[in-house]
């Protein structure tokens, strides 16, 4: 299998895997983790109220564990998906990488290996911890993740070297043909829809940074200060209120950031998929079907994530369904790419 095909397969598989992991995390871990973190914060405040410093420390150890659990799972989702995006990108620039095909394949395999090991390492951080580690704060899972990150950088540097040779016109190898521009409905729909999604996500992010970020940061310290004060005066209803306010604030922040980042990520994904449409060997009806499902899911997820603040878990469920639509469309396209490769291989065999 050539380097571009390896990168397209690996890329789509990484994106679909990362998104599936994100959906499972959103349904089974995210809200439950948030609830337990709130309970632990209340336990810390109650321990402070009865002047029990050991109880406070125990509660914060629990909070640290819960935050690490949540953070590493978010990072697993993000890094797996982004490694997939980068793999698709590298597939697109392969015609301009002036290296022997064997070396390009090795670089592609190295990149995909890093793209798999990085999220696996991140996922394991919470479970492996510092067991048997010679370092004071970095465990073996972190070492695995960091080594995988280094593999990605080495592969990227190799690709950059090949690009440099291409533009220095010092190539002496047969290169793959350029990306086919077939000006089809599918390509235009994905390209325009993707750019629009990125623009919307960017505008929303700018609006959030300008009007919500700083007030939320101030509100966080204000709520924590109030919680400490209410603990000191052993005012249980006010402590409960402060913990609820803290949970609401954390939820709002997560929702705003998720809406911003998912709109942009899905926009990028749509644009990337527009380039591989000539390699999706499906009928025009099925191609359009998967594109519409993908774009619909890509808009439903960020919009309903944002509506979670007003509509609660119902909106969260619809957002998860949006994510599932994107995954299904991706798998549909992957089947089309597989059929295309099968056709190529059959042609070679003949």
């Amino acid at each position: 299998m050539s380097a571009p095909r390896l990168l397209i397969f690996g890329g789509i598989a990484l994106i679909a895997g990362g998104m599936l992991f994100g959906d499972i995390f959103a349904v089974f871990v995210l809200h439950q983790n948030g609830g337990r973190t709130g309970e632990a914060l209340l336990a810390a405040a109650q321990a402070a109220a009865v002047q029990d410093p050991a109880g406070v420390r125990a509660a914060f150890t629990r909070i640290g564990g819960l935050l690490q659990d949540r953070g590493t799972k978010v990072d697993t989702h993000v890094h797996m998906t982004d490694a997939g995006y980068l793999a698709l990108l590298l597939a697109l620039v392969q015609p301009y990488v002036a290296l022997p095909s064997q070396r390009k394949k090795r670089l592609a395999k190295l990149f995909l290996l890093g793209g798999v090991l990085l999220p696996v390492g991140i996922f394991l951080i919470h479970y492996v911890g510092l067991a048997h580690s010679p370092f004071s704060v970095i465990g073996w899972a972190s070492v695995l993740a960091d080594s995988a990150g280094a593999l990605l950088i080495i592969a990227l540097l190799g690709e950059a070297w090949g690009l440099w040779k291409y533009f220095r016109r010092s190539r002496a190898y047969a290169l793959e043909p350029e990306v086919i521009a077939d000006n089809s409905w599918s390509q235009h729909a994905l390209l325009s829809g993707g750019t629009l999604l990125v623009l919307l996500g960017f505008l929303y992010g700018a609006w959030y940074a300008a009007f919500d970020l700083y007030p939320q940061e101030k509100q966080e310290t204000a709520i924590l200060t109030s919680l400490a004060d209410q603990s000191a005066s052993d005012n249980t209803p006010a402590m409960n209120q402060a913990v609820n306010d803290y949970g609401t604030l954390a939820g709002a922040k997560a929702v705003y950031i998720a809406a911003h980042s998912h709109a942009i990520e899905f926009g990028l994904l749509a644009m990337l998929l527009s380039f591989i449409q000539p390699y999706v060997y499906l009928s025009e009806v099925w191609k359009r079907c998967w594109i519409l499902v993908l774009l619909a899911g890509a808009i439903i997820l960020p919009v309903f994530v944002l509506l979670e603040l007003k509509l609660g878990l119902v909106a969260g469920g619809i957002a998860d369904a949006g994510g599932l639509m994107v995954i299904i469309a991706l798998i549909g396209m992957l089947v089309g790419v597989l059929r295309y490769t099968g056709r190529l291989d059959a042609g070679v065999a003949e």
């Binding site: 405040a45 321990a47 402070a48 109220a49 009865v50 002047q51 029990d52 410093p53 109880g55 406070v56 420390r57 909070i63 935050l67 690490q68 993000v78 982004d82 995006y85 980068l86 990108l89 697109l92 620039v93 301009y96 704060v137 970095i138 993740a145 960091d146 990150g149 280094a150 990605l152 950088i153 990227l156 540097l157 950059a160 690009l163 533009f167 990306v179 521009a181 235009h188 390209l191 325009s192 750019t195 629009l196 990125v198 623009l199 960017f202 700018a206 940074a209 300008a210 940061e217 966080e220 310290t221 924590l224 200060t225 400490a228 603990s231 000191a232 990028l268 644009m271 527009s274 380039f275």
Partner: protein, 161 residues
């Protein structure tokens, strides 16, 4: 490959490598320590509350707020540089389909590159001097340049359809 596409592909690859290099350095030498510091500050705040030492509790919460302010922006630098770099490389592949003259496309590519470098840089400068006008102005200007260039690219794609 014309100049605008070269600018986007090479600029994007360089920015992605810098963003990843920064992420690797950050993960190895800063992140764990920062997270431990944030956790310790918050725990200290409530231990001091248990000891009925509210001034020190408030000071610890302020320290937590400052550490989190820096942490959020450091992570944002990493993710925004890589995200914007990926967007530039994608555009680099397909920039010929933006229905403008090559000169205009070059300016758009330059605007995307400049904005993508400066906007996250302004965000990280905010950690050196919180509340100062220059870093915020840099971040706002950088993001405005990227947004306008992005709108122009979207318009260019729409003209070609």
């Amino acid at each position: 490959m014309n100049r605008s596409r070269k600018l986007l592909v090479f600029g994007g690859l360089a920015l992605a490598t810098i963003g990843m290099g920064y992420g690797l350095y950050y993960a190895l030498f800063t992140e764990h320590q920062t997270l431990d510091g944030m956790g310790a500050a918050l725990a200290t705040a409530f231990v001091r509350t248990a000891q009925r030492n509210l001034p020190q509790a408030h000071a610890a919460i302020d320290a937590f707020g400052r550490a989190k302010y820096t942490y959020v922006r450091q992570v944002d630098l990493h993710s925004h540089w890589i995200g914007l770099a990926m967007l530039m490389i994608v555009f680099g592949v397909v920039f010929d389909r933006v229905d403008f003259k090559e000169g205009t496309r070059c300016w758009l590519a330059l605007a995307l590159l400049a904005g993508s470098v400066l906007f996250p840089l302004g965000v990280i400068f905010e950690t050196a001097s919180p509340g100062a006008w220059f870093p915020s102005a840099l971040a706002v200007a950088g993001s405005a340049v990227v947004t306008l260039a992005l709108a122009a690219v979207a318009w260019g794609f729409a003209r070609a359809w």
